[in-house]
């Protein structure tokens, strides 16, 4: 178990591409941190630098108290689970799981016991003598997990380990991985492009965009207090509504509309107004007119998709709330309003 710290880490690929801008953060001992962001934003690059599979262009990387910039991947006391599992095709499940231990000089009897333990924990006992080609996707995923846990490393690294599984298995493994990490208490860095995985698994989320950190925070902080319009629109499904508005002291005027709302903070000028779809009420006496184009029935709740002052807007209602397509009035909960700089997209 260990704390991981990145101090001014930067990555420029040999072709000159700047995949990760100067980045600093610290992961606490035993913490489960999720790196999330759209495809190509540099998540894997960052993870692979921590693993030692990619050279660090600049900056200092510490695992525990040790600077590991120049330490071999095998000596960093890490274990990694790859998106395509990266199992050794010619080895049995038993050998796959035990390979890392064998190369670290663990006695055969101890390897055997540890492999058995890991296999039991992951329901793989009856598959120990099979080759990876004879396993299903979910089982291969478990073998990859087994290979990681059996070594009892200081740090787990996961690179989109669930994205090759079907939705049902993904939900199940999500819970299992999280539970396993809790039980073992091992520090973990988990990369995903799926915001649901990020929200459900993380102790802390790091949102990346174009090689930069947009925000670091707990799932609840990220969800309720996004630091930028990028985070607001990336996290949450459906995403936070973002509409253009003018602010005059504490009065919000939505573009071209006369509706005035009381803002939680004071500012003068153009802003982007953010509000989560569930923080909106339909109300006959409401201040804002909302035109509903589509009604989406989701069982537990309903989504209304439409427009406010010709800007796209969504509202989430409980399953018992009445709703219909057409013109209606809504109220925005004042305490749920988030204001962003129109130019920079940053939170005001």
């Amino acid at each position: 178990m260990a704390q991981v710290s990145l101090e001014g880490i930067r990555k420029v690929y040999p072709n000159g591409f700047r995949a990760v801008q100067t980045t600093s953060f610290t992961i606490q001992d035993g913490e489960f941190v999720v790196l999330v962001g759209p495809s190509g934003c540099g998540k894997s690059t960052l993870l692979r630098m921590i693993a030692g599979l990619e050279e660090i262009t600049e900056g200092v990387l510490k695992i525990g108290d040790r600077v590991v910039n120049d330490v071999d991947p095998a000596d960093r006391d890490i274990a990694m689970v790859f998106q395509n599992y990266a199992l050794y095709p010619h080895m049995t499940v038993r050998k796959n799981i035990g390979y890392g231990l064998k190369n670290r000089g663990t006695p055969a009897a101890a390897i055997d016991a540890k492999v058995q333990d890991a296999a039991r924990m992951l329901n793989l006992t009856e598959y120990l003598d099979r080759k990876p080609a004879q396993l299903s996707g979910g089982q291969r995923q478990r073998v990859a997990m087994g290979r990681a846990v059996v070594r009892d490393p200081a740090l787990f690294l996961f690179d989109e380990p669930l994205s090759n599984l079907d939705a049902k298995l993904r939900n199940q493994m999500r819970i299992e991985i999280k539970a396993l990490q809790r039980r073992l208490g091992t520090t973990a860095v988990y990369v995903t492009h799926d915001q649901v995985e990020a929200m459900t698994m993380a102790d802390r989320i790091i949102v990346l965009n174009e090689g930069r950190i947009e925000q670091i925070g707990t799932p609840s902080e990220i969800y309720h207090n996004p630091a930028s319009t990028f985070v607001a629109s990336f996290m949450g499904a459906p995403p936070m509504n973002l509409i253009k508005a003018e602010l005059d002291q504490q009065s919000v005027r939505i573009n071209g509309c006369r509706d005035l709302i009381h803002a939680p903070q004071s500012f003068d000028g153009p802003v982007t107004l953010g509000i989560r779809p569930e923080d909106v009420e339909v109300d006959e006496q409401g201040l804002v007119s909302f035109h509903v184009d589509i009604l989406e029935e989701l069982g537990a709740h309903r989504l209304l998709h439409g427009r406010i002052a010709n800007q796209p807007f969504s509202v989430m209602l409980g399953k018992d709330d009445a709703a219909q397509v057409g013109e209606t009035k809504i109220n925005l909960k004042p305490e749920a309003l988030r204001l962003f700089d129109r130019e920079t997209g940053l939170r005001l």
């Binding site: 693993a51 095998a74 050794y88 890392g100 080609a133």
Partner: protein, 293 residues
């Protein structure tokens, strides 16, 4: 499922005929003819032949020169196969690490592949030329008076070197594409599991190359046994005398120089049996395993 097919049997038959004719004329007919003539003793001046039963075969067994040539052929095949595989693998592993310029490497090596065996043999002669050959000079530095075509060991060495040189490109291309088809993440997982690069090579990379290596092994044995004819012919400069030769060369020598068609046919029947054996061996093993996905 819809299957494409022909309405009559005649069209597919007609389409197959050219291929079947080629096989029949250039393989089955001469093979059958060789089998038949291996039981006869031909008159050296072409006046008929006498049936002698298995005598051509039994006399091979008692023939010391045949045994010597067979011995050399085995040694030659082992050396050529081993060195052309080993050197090609080494080059492929090195080239695989180079990302820039990999194409140039491949193209340069492929050129050698395009050289016909007799031409390779003549290039060999230049290299081993008595007075100007760089390799002759190289061996002379070690005190070996290298005489191509005169000294048995010198000729044998030259034959091995030229044959290996000629075969490396094919092996290299196969090994390189084999290496590049190993998923990057599998190698990376191994880097985390095993500190030693040598260990990773023998425990992860090489086993994953095994299908390629096995395929090449058969190809190379066949090459050393049969396709080196042109090289051998060129290097001994048409003077068999005291020079080493392989079994295939001896078939040619006895049949066309020595006019012993019966004995030569018997030898070629033995070689055909060997090819058959190799092929069966290859199919059996390929069927059995060494496929992972």
């Amino acid at each position: 499922m819809k299957r494409a097919g022909f309405d009559t049997i005649w069209l597919p038959m007609a389409l197959l005929i050219p291929q079947l004719m080629i096989i029949a004329i250039f393989f089955y007919w001469p093979a059958g003819w060789a089998l038949q003539s291996s039981f006869f003793l031909q008159d050296p001046f072409g006046f008929g032949s006498t049936f002698v039963g298995a005598e051509n075969y039994t006399s091979l067994l008692g023939n010391d020169q045949y045994k010597r040539v067979a011995g050399f052929t085995i040694l030659y095949s082992v050396l050529v196969t081993f060195f052309s595989l080993a050197i090609a693998l080494l080059l492929a592993v090195k080239a695989d690490k180079v990302i820039k310029g990999a194409k140039t490497y491949r193209t340069l090596l492929m050129w050698v592949y395009a050289i016909a065996p007799p031409v390779a043999g003549f290039l060999g002669i230049l290299f081993f030329d008595q007075s100007t050959g760089p390799l002759t000079k190289f061996f002379q530095m070690f005190g070996w008076d290298f005489k191509l075509g005169v000294d048995y060991n010198a000729t044998a060495t030259a034959m091995v070197i030229v044959a290996v040189w000629k075969q490396i490109p094919v092996n290299f291309i196969f090994f390189l594409s084999g290496l590049q088809s190993i998923p990057r993440s599998v190698r990376e997982a191994a880097m985390i599991d095993n500190r030693s690069a040598t260990g990773r090579f023998w425990q992860v990379t090489f086993p994953l190359l095994a299908p390629t290596a096995f395929f090449l092994l058969i190809i190379n044995i066949t090459y050393a046994l049969f396709d080196t004819f042109g090289i051998i012919d060129a290097l001994m400069k048409g003077e068999p005398g005291n020079n080493p030769m392989t079994l295939v060369y001896k078939v040619y020598l006895d049949g066309f120089r020595g006019n012993d068609l019966g004995g030569s046919s018997a030898q070629s029947v033995v070689l055909m049996a060997l090819v058959l054996l190799l092929t069966v061996f290859q199919f059996r093993l390929v069927e059995r395993r060494i496929h992972y996905t």
